[in-house]
């Protein structure tokens, strides 16, 4: 009880992904981080509502990311229940701390005017290699007792290399610096193009957690230094094409993680952040709540998991920022702007709306 609109699907599913690469969607650059000139006198020019939505489920629910400094960091789970756990929406019977208003029966309080909420569209960029965040783990090295190897699954649309680093710090332009290179050697392994590849650090190059304990660094130590950083770089074959934009280094994805000790004494990996470096731009990947549902569902058109929570009719395509709840269609989002500045799901203030067209053709915007 108390949940509605829930589906059994998780926030992200792993399926076979299209070989062309991964569709990623970014907020349309380059908006200023604030709107210095006040509300746009003609906001409608930012809106174009798609007359048709792709109905075919996207086999590769994309990840999304934002420009650094564009938005505040993701909300800390605070006074609001974390919604969309596993796709469910928590908006049910009030929790124990609900506080009924004093007003008896009557008109709802007037909405707080029509706030200006920026409405953005997305652009798609392509990333050639993606480490599946949830697959990142440590495995014991059978040949070297006491040592552990980093393992994960990844997809690559082009050949490249994977570098596993320890206690690495991110420098300008997504370059990484290993701060304890003398203790923990970085390991680089090349890979070929292919989907669902399994990576395992070569035997003998693993880490010994007792050393971690000695230096007391299972968590993030210095600012920006992560105990485990995996950099996946792709070097597309059509490199000549890329020379024109002055970027011969290819694209990369950086996964920053910490080690956590489980109750049984074993270690597990927890991913803190994923960063994309594409065409000289740095993007941070963030999950969008509800997007997995938006592209999958049953066939009877009655799946409460993918429809706009306001009209219960159109597919969801608009994400509320900064809370990242993808819960509405663009039409309802437009109406909502004039009623409230709160997210319908979590009631956090809305700073902007991001319209995401989930497109099944990964290369359509290339």
């Amino acid at each position: 009880m108390g949940n509605f609109g829930s589906t059994s699907s998780g926030r992200r599913r792993h399926r076979t992904q299209p070989p062309q690469g991964h569709g990623f969607v970014a907020a349309t650059p380059p908006y200023p981080s604030q709107y210095p000139n006040g509300p746009d006198p003609n906001p409608s020019q930012h809106h174009q509502y798609p007359s048709q939505y792709p109905n075919a489920p996207n086999p590769n629910p994309p990840q999304f990311f934002q420009y650094p400094g564009f938005y505040p960091p993701p909300p800390v789970p605070g006074p609001y229940p974390q919604p969309y756990h596993g796709g469910g929406v928590y908006m049910g019977p009030p929790p124990a701390n609900w506080s009924p208003g004093q007003l008896p029966y009557g008109a709802a309080p007037p909405p707080p005017g029509a706030p200006f909420v920026e409405h953005q569209k997305t652009v798609t960029i392509k990333n050639d290699v993606n480490i599946k965040k949830d697959s990142l783990r440590v495995e014991p090295d059978e040949e070297n007792p006491g040592r552990f190897l980093i393992a994960f699954t990844f997809d690559a649309a082009a050949p490249g290399s994977i570098t596993v680093m320890f206690f690495a710090k991110e420098d300008a332009d997504c370059n990484l610096i290993a701060t304890k290179e003398s203790l923990f050697k970085s390991v680089t392994v090349p890979f070929e193009k292919g989907l669902g590849q399994k990576f395992r650090q070569p035997s003998g190059t693993g880490i010994d957690f007792s050393m971690f304990e000695e230096i007391g660094l299972t968590k993030e130590g210095d600012i920006e230094v992560y105990p485990l950083v995996v950099k996946a770089e792709a070097f597309p074959l059509n490199a000549g094409e890329r020379e024109s934009d002055g970027n011969s280094a290819g694209n990369s994805q950086i996964t920053q993680a910490v080690f956590e000790k489980k109750e049984n004494g074993e270690y597990k990996v927890r991913v803190m952040k994923q960063i994309l470096w594409v065409n000289g731009m740095r993007y941070e990947l963030q999950e969008i709540y509800g997007i997995g549902n938006a592209v999958e569902g049953d066939q009877n058109g009655n799946d409460s998991g993918k429809e706009c929570i306001i009209c219960l009719s159109e597919p969801r395509d608009t994400t509320v920022l900064p809370c990242r709840h993808m819960c509405m269609c663009s039409g309802c989002a437009k109406v909502l702007r004039f009623q409230t500045n709160r997210c319908p799901v979590c009631r956090q203030p809305v700073e902007r709306l991001l319209e995401i067209k989930v497109n099944n053709e990964a290369n359509s915007s290339e």
Binding site: M1, G2, F4, G5, V89, M91, G92, P93, P94, A96, W98, S99, P100, G101, Q102, L103, P104, Y105, A107, A108, P109, P111, N302, S304, I309, I310, C311, L312, S313, C327, C332, V335, L336, Q339, T340, R342, P344, V345, R347
Partner: protein
């Protein structure tokens, strides 16, 4: 007619309410006005309202879902957050309304309110006072009213 251009949201909600009713709750639209619902909520187990059948009316205003539904108890009930006219003191029906809520969730919330009276934020001052000074007695009164007024017919 009001029914001729009923938003799809209301049609869908109605269909789902009828096809998959929430436990202990029934809601059916009036034939004359599809925005008006006759509601019945069963008193929750382990509450003073257990065994009672409570009738309510629910109306979806023109602005719905941007504005909350209007809901009122028709059956007399002894509850600190419900007054003698059946009006309900519940945040989601007022300032905490969100268009993500639905008829179903509103009714589930009301059902939960029956399980968890909140005399600290009363609508009926007298009942709330009773609840705070002598809860056992207030609960007895609520049970008595349930027998008298909510026995089903």
């Amino acid at each position: 007619m009001a029914n001729s251009n009923l938003p799809r949201r209301i049609i869908k909600e109605t269909q789902r309410l009828l096809s998959e009713p929430a436990p202990g709750i029934s809601a059916s639209p009036s034939e004359e006005n599809m925005r008006y619902f006759n509601v019945m909520i069963l008193g929750p187990a382990q509450s003073p309202y257990e065994g009672g059948v409570f009738k309510l009316e629910l109306f979806l205003p023109e602005e719905y879902p941007m504005a909350p539904p209007k809901v009122r108890f028709l059956t007399k009930i002894y509850h600190p957050n419900i007054d003698k006219l059946g009006r309900i003191c519940l945040d989601i029906l007022k300032d905490k309304w969100s268009p993500a809520l639905q008829i179903r969730t509103v009714l589930l919330s009301i059902q939960a309110l029956l399980s968890a009276p909140n005399p600290d934020d009363p609508l009926s001052e007298n009942i709330a006072k009773h609840w705070k000074t002598n809860e056992a007695e207030a609960v007895e009164t609520a049970k008595e009213w349930t027998r008298l007024y909510a026995s089903g017919e």
